[in-house]
């Protein structure tokens, strides 16, 4: 194990576990400034986590082990995904491999755990959010797999460190297939992080919410795990976006040094999008993401024609 891979592994794990709430905080702060508010500062998510950690939980009457395990399983799946997604083209083996398509499975596991807990509480708001989330996920998963497939075809492997290395340099600028995949992946980022125009992270109204619904019944440390998992989801998709679909250098040290810059830029982009775009009608969202999947498909065709 070289010093490179140790550093890269440390960046990946520490960043994913400890710095991911900062991404949420930065986005919220940037959004507040863009909207003419002062904002609570980028550290607000940490304060929220501390507050939730000190509170007692709630056991809903008549629930089973499914409800009690769900927040843990969600956080554990995100933890495994943090080990899976590398922060650069070097990554030590952390026991879960580094496969791009396996990531889709972990995201699905987290989604299923939350939605099963929604059924366990039989809360109408929770089930409304769950059914919407799972309906969207049909299109999100297709777009996710197809956009990662483009990157995998360009790089010749689905091994994520290999994909990061294979798309390094001028690739995202010069390969049209990757550009199309980047468009699709941008939609995946918005959907997976639950941001406008797909979902509104600031609202708790049942008419508008998707991701907030199923976690309504959790409190205390359970809620803290779920909030952290949402932040970890930001880390995962933004790191993938930065290190595959944005231009990134070849050397590992350069990659690690530039990653924070790319992440901050992406958070700003999310904040700008949230400020400019209103939330869409819920039934139109699948169309939008479906178009994203079609664009990624077009990316594969472009690559095929290019290669032929």
């Amino acid at each position: 194990m070289t010093s490179q891979s140790v550093t890269a592994g440390a960046a990946q794990v520490v960043g994913g576990v400890a710095l991911s709430p900062l991404l949420v905080g930065l986005t919220q702060q940037a959004k507040a400034r863009l909207q003419g508010r002062r904002g609570a500062g980028p550290l607000q998510p940490y304060r929220e986590l501390r507050r939730l950690w000190g509170k007692s939980g709630v056991d809903v009457e008549g629930t089973t082990l499914v409800y009690r395990l769900a927040p843990l399983l969600v956080a554990a799946a995100m933890g495994a995904a943090i080990l899976l997604v590398p922060a650069s083209s070097a990554a030590p083996g952390l026991g879960v491999g580094h496969d791009a398509l396996a990531l889709a499975g972990l995201l699905a596991l987290a989604r299923l755990a939350v939605c099963a807990a929604a059924w366990d509480t039989s809360n109408g708001f929770a089930l409304q959010g769950a059914s919407r989330d799972l309906t969207l996920s049909v299109f999100v998963e297709a777009a996710l797999v197809l956009s990662l497939a483009v990157a995998a075809l360009v790089a010749g492997t689905t091994n994520l460190p290999g994909v990061v290395a294979g798309t390094a340099g001028g690739h995202p600028w010069t390969t049209p297939a990757l550009g199309l995949a980047a468009v699709a992946f941008a939609l995946v980022v918005i959907a997976e992080t639950g941001r406008q125009p797909v979902d509104n992270p600031d609202t708790h109204l049942e008419l508008t919410m998707i991701h907030e619904g199923p976690i309504l019944e959790f409190a205390g440390r359970d809620q803290a795990f779920l909030q952290w998992a949402l932040a970890a989801r930001h880390w995962l998709v933004l790191v993938l976006a930065a290190s595959i679909f944005l231009p990134h250098p070849h050397g590992i040290w350069w990659q690690l040094a530039l990653l924070p810059v790319s992440l901050v830029l992406l958070c700003l982009a999310l904040a700008v999008t949230e400020t400019l775009v209103a939330k869409m009608r819920i039934l139109l969202v699948p169309r939008l993401i479906g178009v994203g999947a079609a664009v990624a498909l077009l990316g594969i065709v472009t690559w095929l024609v290019d290669a032929a």
Binding site: D99, A102, G105
Partner: protein
């Protein structure tokens, strides 16, 4: 080896006879299970030992039997499903005459399945194939003889026989060309090769339930007794996949690329269509039957990828794709059998399987409910369990189609990849709904609130199958090299032994690592959460009490999807409002998602056929004079034809 096989067959035959005697039904079923186990062990020994038993394949029409690696794998799969199913049946089947006949016919069904797998010539293959179709029909009619059941059995027998003609044509043509067991006999791109491929896809595809030949499957599988449903949905469709693999991969030689493309199209259609229609079913067993269509679609996708990759020279990935198809067939057999047996348990405990009228069974039946939960998670493709391993492998194989197969086939491969990704997400939606409506929440009927665990053998069977789902999910790598080695083009050699799936050009799927990391983290977080000072509270419903009328239904949970897919699914809804004196008295609502392939494809064909039959019937008046007139007319027409020189 021979002794093991003879003992196995004897066990099944004697068990069948014994279970037909009064008061010996349980002993007979246990004996059948022991026989199936012996045959499964023999199969596993051939798969892992590598030495074939019995005769090789022959194009002669003399009956021959033998076991090679592929047959061994399917025999082991049969045992893995049949042993729990038979043990389950020993407590499940009623001690009546109908129960005894079902048990005895079950043995005949097993023998027919084994016969198809072990047949080494066309004649005995077709004999057992027909038997395998007819015995379940007899079993269904033994259990129920209502008008609806008879109609279902008629549909089943009619469609599988119409489609089954394809199997006959394919097998007999292969025997005629001397191609059974000899991949070099057919010349590449020849007409006869094309005819055999089409006939095999229709014949075996009908039996496997590939769309659009699937219409019999969701009707016939649910009405059989649970243990037979498990064998039908777990093993019988797998035997159809076995037939497809034998013909398309082993005997056809390298087929033209359109064969692989057709498999991708049929597979994508079946996967997406199967799971979509499963979502809108109201009955649990019918939902499971539609999900069988989905999973055979996934197998067809893997098989299509295998054929295309082989065609384009990517032999290593072609054998991985074949391994994916075989592994998914096995995984599907385990969790589908588990879910069908679980459905039978719930039906026994609560009296009905309407999805909206179950609920809360996990608390009432922790063992069988817990096993059912494992099966539902596995079928939804959750990492850590077996469904995900083979679906991941299939995704990887489909991704290699664009990488190797050129623009047109590559685009099709990319579409198939998107279809499979969508299918996996739809499966999560579908089975979250099943878990929620069946196992969680409050009981929705008094029978559910009073449900109790079934007798021990039924419980053991469910738990054993759940264990198989966990083990196959943890160490698929111990099996996969054996399965990829079954490809006729694979190099013989000792494969490396690893628990996970390590494939070149991927980031690997260390299944054991996933299990350890996810379970370990969950445990750590459980400790971190500490002893809970949790307040108990009712569910929040804006300050109301959660009453039964407020509970979510199956239709409600799938409504967003129904609205999104409205243009494709064409759902029907009717709202009737009864008013009297300007006051609304009653509002009634009926909605359904029609099965478009039934309505748009089969209904016109059957009504056309009936119309033609009624025309033809007018010719048959039954009066002698009319027939004499027909004869005279024919003779005159022939004479005229000779006169004008058309014939003679």
């Amino acid at each position: 080896m021979t002794a093991l096989i003879v003992a196995g067959l004897a066990g099944i035959v004697l068990g069948g006879v014994l279970s037909s005697l009064p008061d010996r039904i349980a002993a007979g079923l246990w004996l059948q299970a022991a026989g199936a186990l012996a045959l499964g062990l023999a199969g596993a020994r051939v798969l892992y030992g590598g030495d074939d038993w019995g005769a090789p394949f022959t194009s002669e029409l003399t009956p021959q039997a033998g076991i090679d690696g592929m047959t061994g794998f399917f025999l082991a799969m049969l045992a893995l499903v049949a042993c729990p199913a038979l043990v389950f049946a020993s407590a499940y089947l009623p001690r009546t005459r109908a129960g005894r006949i079902t048990a005895a016919l079950g043995a005949a069904f097993l023998l027919a399945l084994i016969g198809v797998l072990c047949a080494r010539d066309a004649l005995s293959f077709l004999f057992f194939w027909e038997l395998m179709t007819l015995v379940p029909a007899a079993i269904i009619l033994t259990g129920t003889s209502t008008e609806a059941a008879r109609h279902t059995v008629f549909t089943y027998v009619a469609i599988t026989h119409l489609g089954g003609a394809g199997t006959w044509i394919a097998l007999l043509l292969l025997a005629h060309e001397g191609a059974i067991g000899d991949a070099t006999a057919l010349s590449e791109g020849s007409g006869v090769q094309a005819v055999i491929a089409v006939a095999a896809i229709i014949g075996f595809g009908t039996k496997a339930g590939l769309m659009p030949m699937h219409v019999w499957l969701p009707r016939a599988h649910p009405i059989a007794p649970a243990s037979i449903s498990a064998l039908m949905s777990g093993v019988m469709v797998a035997v159809a996949a076995y037939g497809l693999i034998r013909v398309l991969v082993d005997w056809l030689g390298p087929p033209p690329s359109w064969v692989g493309a057709v498999m991708l199209v049929l597979g994508g259609l079946s996967a997406l269509g199967g799971i979509t229609y499963a979502l809108f079913q109201r009955d649990l067993k019918r939902l499971l039957a539609y999900s069988t269509v989905e999973h055979l679609g996934v197998v067809a996708l893997a098989l299509g990828a295998c054929l295309l990759l082989r065609r384009h020279g990517a032999d290593e990935w072609a054998s991985f794709a074949l391994g994916a198809a075989l592994l998914h067939t096995l995984n599907h057999a385990t969790f589908k059998a588990l879910l069908f047996l679980g459905a039978g348990t719930f039906e026994r405990a609560t009296g009905a399987l309407e999805l909206d009228r179950l609920g809360g069974l996990l608390r009432r039946m922790p063992w069988s409910g817990g096993a059912f939960l494992v099966g539902a998670l596995a079928i939804a493709g959750m990492p850590l369990l077996n469904g995900f391993a083979s679906e991941w492998l299939t995704l990887q194989a489909l991704l290699r189609v664009p990488a190797y197969a050129g623009v047109w086939d590559g685009t099709l491969g990319a579409l198939a990849l998107a279809a499979l990704a969508g299918t996996m997400a739809l499966a999560v939606l579908c089975f979250v709904k099943v878990i929620g409506l069946v196992l969680l929440g409050p009981p929705r009927r008094s029978a559910c609130a009073e449900a109790v665990e079934p007798p021990a053998p039924m419980r053991w069977a469910l738990v054993a199958l759940a264990g198989a789902c966990v083990v196959l999910g943890a160490v698929p790598g111990l099996l996969l090299p054996r399965l990829t080695g079954l490809a006729p083009w694979a190099d013989p050699g000792e494969p490396p032994v690893r628990p996970g799936l390590d494939l070149p050009g991927t980031g690997n799927l260390p299944t054991l690592g996933f299990l350890v990391v996810v379970c370990g983290l969950t445990g750590l977080l459980w400790l971190a959460r500490g002893s809970r000072r949790a307040a108990v509270s009712p569910t929040w419903a804006s300050g109301q009490l959660v009453e039964p009328q407020l509970l979510w239904t199956s239709a409600g949970f799938s409504k967003p999807l129904r609205l999104v897919l409205e243009a494709v699914l064409r759902p029907q809804r009717e709202i009737e409002t009864t008013t009297s004196g300007g006051v609304v008295q009653e509002v009634s609502y009926a909605g359904r998602v029609p099965h478009l392939i039934d309505d748009r494809l089969y209904r016109p064909v059957t009504s056309g056929a009936l119309l033609a039959a009624s025309w033809a019937r007018r010719l048959q008046s039954g009066r002698l004079g009319t027939y004499v007139l027909y004869l005279i007319g024919l003779v005159v027409a022939l004479l005229l034809a000779v006169r004008i020189g058309a014939i003679g």
